[in-house]
């Protein structure tokens, strides 16, 4: 059943617990590859338009929009991806329009389980599968959903394939699933903070990706504050009263961070540390993070 895909396009899925900095890590990764001469598409899922808003770009939805040299951004929504897929089949835009304007179909598309997820994951893998219009990029970085929803997205193809083995739907689903399980084509990045809860969730996600997709994700530890040599913090007696809270907090962070990173070193297959970039400007944060993301793609 397995097919050979010769397209060399690389697909990166970036996930992790909510609030750990997935989007800016994705942006930094895309930027870093572009600075090495690759052509990269940075994709966000859904309608939040995080990239176009954060980087002050024109919002053109799924249409790639240039951000930096070598990096285009795009926002993919389930329904738009599905429309593209259907248009590819029916060829005639008028019929595709009819399809989506039809109220019966509208409700059906909303109702049919996992159809939107399938369309998104289908589009992401379409380059590798040589399906539909080629996307001229060396790599596609998908700033994906948080852990639970992300797994649902990845499993949509397999679930569909298990339910429906025959027909175009079954065949595509099987191909998509094959690409997701192929480390030659698909890389997984889990972003975490050096704290107990995100690390636990990271290791759970690593296990799921391992078990279900034979994948070995790389963990990106975002917002590390104690990289490199750090001197010992002064004892409380040497600290002026007004700075005691600050020093105590730094001490706490240091302990939590050390423990989290030690745990990752032991239990994560591969991990890369990233610095805390003290900026409130998203583009500055991506710029500050990009050198640290090199380990996410150069080993591959």
């Amino acid at each position: 059943m397995s097919r050979e895909f010769t397209n060399k396009q690389k697909l990166f899925f970036v996930s992790g617990k909510g609030g750990v900095g997935k989007s800016l890590t994705s942006a930094a990764l895309a930027l870093d590859m572009a600075r090495s001469g690759k052509k990269v598409l940075l994709v966000e899922l859904g309608d939040a338009r995080f990239f176009s808003r954060s980087f002050q770009l024109e919002d053109r939805g799924a249409e790639p929009t240039p951000w930096k040299d070598g990096v285009d951004v795009a926002a993919w929504e389930g329904e738009a991806c599905l429309r593209e897929y259907i248009l590819h089949y029916v060829k005639v835009a008028a019929i595709a329009d009819l399809f989506f304007e039809n109220s019966v179909m509208k409700s059906l598309v909303r109702a049919a389980p996992a159809l939107n997820e399938l369309a998104i994951i289908g589009k992401a893998t379409s380059g590798v599968r040589n399906f539909a219009a080629p996307m001229p990029y060396d790599a596609i970085v998908v700033d994906s959903y948080a852990t639970g929803h992300f797994l649902a997205l990845l499993k949509a193809a397999r679930g569909m394939y298990e339910a429906v083995k025959f027909g175009p739907m079954g065949r595509h689903s099987s191909d998509i699933d094959q690409v997701l399980c192929d480390p030659e084509h698909t890389k997984y990045v889990i972003v975490t903070l050096p704290e107990e809860l995100p690390v636990s969730e990271t290791l759970e996600l690593q296990k799921s990706l391992n078990d279900d997709f034979k994948a070995t994700p790389t963990v990106f530890v975002n917002k590390c504050q104690f990289l490199g040599a750090t001197e010992n913090l002064p004892s409380s007696a040497e600290v002026p009263e007004a700075a005691k809270g600050f020093v105590a907090e730094m001490d706490r962070i240091k302990n939590v961070e050390t423990e989290a990173r030690q745990r990752l070193q032991k239990e994560a297959a591969a991990s890369v540390d990233g610095p805390f970039v003290f900026s409130v400007d998203p583009a500055e944060v991506a710029e500050g993070l990009h050198p640290a993301t090199r380990g996410l793609w150069t080993t591959s």
Partner: protein, 360 residues
């Protein structure tokens, strides 16, 4: 926050993933117990340490939390969406045959776990049951993890449109017809479209889908009633929303969008809670004293301190802009990043203190 707690029967904690919603929901529950109420916190996916602190072991059963110095009671329950969806179907289906037909459908499992809206729907079913049981003075719902806060509000309508009769009726067939054979009922445009759909997905998929909808026709009245009664509960004047958000520009924008959405939908928004806005050492300090004290620290630490002060100052400016813009229409509370274990009951109690004292 005390007024909000005392004057409502339902508080819905909404917000996008990773902002600390569950912790805030539990703290509100704790505060309610301190005020002498019998409160229930319903949560769908608590972090393990929080679950441990609350004493939750398994889903589907309310447990009383062992709280000190409270005249009321705090209860907590974890929702298992798969279980509730199954239960809901068992309770509403007219006979065992229908239950089996639904559960044996190949698409059912995907639907109950991956369809966006199913977790929200089951949370609402659970909320409705808890409120109508009359066992509690206040029920606090921690909404399921979602990308956006508004997803929660859209969910019931999504589920409703899935189950409404117009969708299912295309699949109703006469005896002897093959599944998926709905050509008689629909007009020509729809026929074309459904034909394309069948061509793309394949007849096996269409067969499963139509089987699924056919089995569901038995339930649609009950689901319709449930959707209406949960919606009524959400717009009730004894129900209010609290939006929990983290502190960055895109999240603050989301807060504004959510607020508009709520107002348009006739829901009430009691408060926006910006969680982990600033560390305690920064939030509670006098800026001049802090800057002076930093000077006395050894070199590297001093640099680190100054870097963080600049950073949090810039964040404070962002926050002020947000506050000026929205303070008239929104009640905003900030919670600090606690420099201690926020998951034990003591941590929850400290957050509850901040909730009641740090109102702007």
């Amino acid at each position: 926050m005390d007024d909000i707690i005392k004057s409502h029967k339902v508080i819905v904690c909404a917000g996008s993933g990773g902002v600390g919603k569950t912790t805030v929901a539990a703290s509100v529950g704790l505060r309610a117990a301190q005020l002498g109420l019998k409160a229930l916190v319903l949560t769908i996916d608590p972090a393990r340490r929080l679950a441990t602190a609350l004493g939750i072991k398994a889903a589907g059963e309310a447990v009383q939390v062992n709280v000190q110095d409270a005249s009321g009671q705090l209860w907590a329950e974890m929702i298992n969406p798969d279980l509730i969806f199954d239960q809901f179907i068992e309770n509403t289906a007219p006979d065992k045959d229908t239950v089996d037909r639904i559960k044996n459908n190949k698409l059912y499992h995907q639907l109950s776990t991956t369809l966006s809206g199913s977790q929200e729907f089951t949370s609402l079913v659970k909320l409705h049951d808890a409120v109508s049981s009359g066992d509690y003075d206040l029920v606090i719902l921690d909404t399921p993890p979602a990308q956006h806060a508004v997803d929660f509000l859209n969910a019931p309508e999504k589920i409703y449109s899935l189950f409404q009769s117009t969708v299912t009726k295309w699949f109703i067939r006469e005896k002897g017809q093959q599944p998926g054979f709905f050509k008689k009922l629909v007009n020509r445009g729809t026929q074309t479209v459904l034909g394309v759909f069948e061509k793309i997905t394949g007849s096996e998929f269409m067969g499963e889908l139509s089987e699924f909808f056919l089995a569901l026709t038995e339930l649609q009245d009950e689901i319709g009633k449930k959707s209406i009664s949960t919606h009524r509960l959400l717009v009730d004047d004894k129900t209010t929303f609290v939006l929990v958000t983290s502190f960055d520009e895109s999240k603050l924008q989301e807060a504004e969008t959510f607020h508009k959405y709520l107002r348009r939908g006739g829901y009430s928004l009691a408060s926006v809670i910006i969680n982990r806005a600033f560390p305690e050492w920064f939030q509670n300090a006098d800026p001049d004293q802090l800057a002076q004290a930093m000077q006395a620290l050894p070199g590297d630490l001093q640099r680190q301190g100054e870097l963080r002060c600049q950073y949090f100052d810039r964040r404070r400016n962002l926050y002020k802009r947000f506050q000026i813009q929205y303070s008239e229409s929104l009640r905003v509370v900030t919670l600090p990043e606690l420099n201690s274990d926020a998951f034990g009951l003591q941590g929850l109690a400290r957050i509850a203190d901040y909730l009641t004292t740090s109102e702007d």
